[in-house]
Subunit: 254 residues, 2 copies
């Protein structure tokens, strides 16, 4: 009986303690206590997390912790982790601005749009992983697709050419960004004491060239001979080159 009483009293006792605690700190009063936890807040928090620690840090638990709650709470607003990923790349794509088509500059305009997408991917390291797994027919990606299609058609590209080139470009942008993210991120190295950013980059490149030159000439003659060409491509030269190739019109027009 006593047990029963105690057990029964536990409940109201807890409430009593909670009430006292609530009395204790009325700062941040009124309604800040709610923090209503909307989809927007979740997506926003996840993006901040990616920017700071990379996409692999985006865990239901960690996103929830950043919102000062538990992982289970997120599932009231988002079906899956996969759905969250879709929302993330949707949000990301919504920041890409589509220009007014100008037939004289369609190539530059396309490079601009693809560059925006690439920069978004690079801003959130590793998110390109989600981009490749995401539903390819999300509304935001379709919006970019439509924009690129408009630019290409305005430039005089045949529809089938435009469709395939855009598809390939999207795939390439994601793959390029993913590789770039992995190359700079994964905390593997950065050994050695002092760093000067530019010198570090040069050293990296030089070391790759050197390693390639160490290969046996009998098996890798061309790799050794053109090691420099193979490992060059700082900045986004390779990126620009590839898109330039992808969007070369077939008929020698322009």
């Amino acid at each position: 009986m006593a047990e029963k009483n105690a057990k029964r009293g536990d409940d109201s006792r807890q409430r009593w303690i909670a009430q006292i605690a609530a009395l204790e700190n009325p700062p941040t009063p009124a309604r800040s206590r709610k923090a209503p936890l909307t989809v927007e807040r979740i997506v926003h928090t996840a993006l901040e997390l990616i920017e700071a620690e990379g996409f692999e840090a985006v865990t239901m638990r960690r996103v929830a912790a950043a919102l000062q709650t538990g992982a289970a709470s997120l599932y009231a607003h988002v079906r899956n982790k996969a759905a969250l990923d879709d929302l993330l790349i949707g949000e990301l794509c919504s920041h890409v601005m589509l220009p007014e088509p100008d037939p004289k500059q369609w190539q530059a305009q396309i490079m601009n749009v693809c560059g925006q997408l690439r920069d978004q991917f690079l801003r959130y390291p590793g998110i390109a992983t989600a981009a490749m797994a995401a539903t390819p027919t999300s509304l935001e990606t379709l919006r970019i697709n439509e924009g690129l299609l408009t630019l290409l058609l305005a430039g005089g590209a045949p529809p089938q050419f435009a469709a395939w080139a855009i598809d390939a470009a999207y795939l390439y942008v994601a793959a390029y960004s993913l590789e770039a993210s992995l190359r700079s991120r994964p905390g593997n190295g950065e050994e050695g004491g002092d760093h000067d950013n530019e010198h570090e980059h040069d050293n990296d490149n030089d070391e790759i060239v050197e390693r390639l030159r160490m290969l046996p000439t009998s098996l890798f003659p061309n790799t050794v001979a053109h090691a420099r060409e193979l490992s060059t491509g700082d900045g986004h030269e390779r990126f620009d080159f590839t898109l330039g190739q992808l969007f070369r019109l077939p008929s020698s027009a322009e």
Copy 2:
């Protein structure tokens, strides 16, 4: 008391049972009991697992289980899961055959090599994920790189062009294969009763076209107008198109 005795005897009792069991089946005798667990066996088993259940099924525990052992045993032969992934794509790349360069057919030869690589990726669904994360300077990938470089140079491509085009091609092949794997794999749908493979494919394609046509014309005029071109590309037409664009020489030669 009996319990205590049993517990103490457990150890030698187990050994006793093992001995009897060993007596029981001397078939596959001599030394088959060892099953020495080499790197080759691990890689081979992992590849079989991918072929049957996809890359996401490749878990240290599951690979070990397929080898009738525990996960910890693998770490005596492979540093990480990442290292295992590298070995897997290395093994995969080693099956790509490089042709003798023939300057007259360099384009077809390159398409052939890239097609081999693509088919390897498609044979092991999802392994392209590992290909994108893998060390880009593995010996096997360098071998393919050297082969492609040889073909392109034989075809008269400038070295810088060849280097960048090959890099882009590798990225694209991986991305294309990954998307193709994800599209057919992930068990999302396949609902509905009876399946005829060809009809199913047609239905899929038709449904995508239909969905695109449902978009508001005001926002997606070109997408609606060219829905068919956007969603076509069965077989590997898109693949061939993209590589064709990537390897078009700049100077209008050939």
